[in-house]
Symmetry: C2
Subunit: 221 residues, 2 copies
């Protein structure tokens, strides 16, 4: 009982800081996504592809979440955009307070799209609002087609599911229809894109969707 109470208090505290973050993003009309997946689904590769294709039309900034190392931030830094690595020192997800702690590193007046890459974990990040506009969940073909039904919490509050590594589809017994059906059963509002960050296939649809969200955010009253 005591445990549950502590966790509820943690979540309440998190929500109030997340709202503070959200106010900052909204005031500056920065469209923000919280990008989540298992380790190795391809979050950082997606970011590299996205920045490379959109950096001349959108001002992009990034938070990289990880247990340790600055590997991912170094990959993003090469594109010459603002990036901060948050090392959670073993913690399994980012929380709103960690994000709040680094927002001073950014000039949000000069930002259209803010991407928060969460720690690689298909369970824990789902419980923690960071202040984002949308949650994007990535799964990849080699992980198998049972991820939505086995990890439903992650899909319930997401806006988008990216199914990555479709270049490996031919070498697996992945059932694309099943994954889509299971994901939409959990959350009928999901946008689903099939992509390959290796070959680039399908990424244009994702870029178009992002452009549209940034435009909508900019036009908000």
């Amino acid at each position: 009982m005591a445990k549950v109470k502590v966790f509820t208090n943690i979540l309440k505290a998190n929500d109030s800081i997340a709202q503070k973050n959200r106010d900052i993003f909204n005031k500056n009309k920065v469209y923000t996504i919280n990008l989540m997946s298992s380790p190795g689904s391809g979050k950082t590769s997606l970011l590299e592809r996205t920045i490379d294709s959109l950096k001349n039309e959108l001002k992009i900034a990034v938070i990289e979440g990880d247990l340790q190392t600055t590997n991912d931030a170094e990959r993003i830094e090469k594109y010459n955009i603002p990036v901060t690595q948050i090392n959670t020192d073993g913690a399994c997800h980012l929380d709103a307070n960690m994000v709040d702690g680094v927002l001073g590193n950014y000039n949000f007046k000069e930002t259209d799209l803010f991407v928060i890459e969460n720690v690689g974990n298909l369970v824990c990040p789902a419980g923690f609002d960071l202040g984002e506009d949308d949650r994007v969940v990535m799964v990849s073909i080699p992980e198998g087609d049972d991820k939505p039904i086995k990890y439903p919490v992650m899909f319930r509050k997401a806006s988008v599911v990216l199914i990555n590594k479709i270049d490996l589809l031919a070498y697996t017994n992945f059932n694309m229809d099943k994954v889509k059906k299971d994901a939409l059963n959990i959350n009928p509002n999901l946008e689903i894109f099939e992509i390959s960050c290796q070959t680039g296939e399908g990424l244009d649809n994702w870029f178009d969707w992002l452009r549209e969200q940034v435009r909508k955010k900019r036009d908000e009253k």
Copy 2:
């Protein structure tokens, strides 16, 4: 500060129940592994292969951990061995208490090898002793070769790393030497096996290692 204290108490309580579980396994000379990986690395496929190959020489029993669904337990049940599904109802790892709660389902006098398949998560399960003899961590080729350095806690207390899906090696830029070097830097005592649960390649080495551990356990005074 309060949070840290609660977590320390939780871990202490866990360790004392884990020891109780361990006493039961030891008394009955049951060799027990705690199998951990990201979602979709291939834990259940490994189990299917292992049971199929060893069921005539070893008496095997299984715990399946998952957030929800009984999918994995159903896959194992087909082999006609004792299996219990623990659904954590959203919790990100098994703990010793959950395992303790189902041990009554098994006849350990009639068990040589007990496999506990943990929740798919490369972070949280690392903190929780279940009473196992050895921890086995699985990574798979498509997840990329940066898993040991990015998720080191999981590798620190493991005895074995299984590198699965080597049938997909040719379609990726996975650097096998790097992964092994990074893993052994974290933990020089690791046994590392390259395997494919799809083609069966490399599994004989894993089976031999398991046979040897079961034999050692049986011969313990």
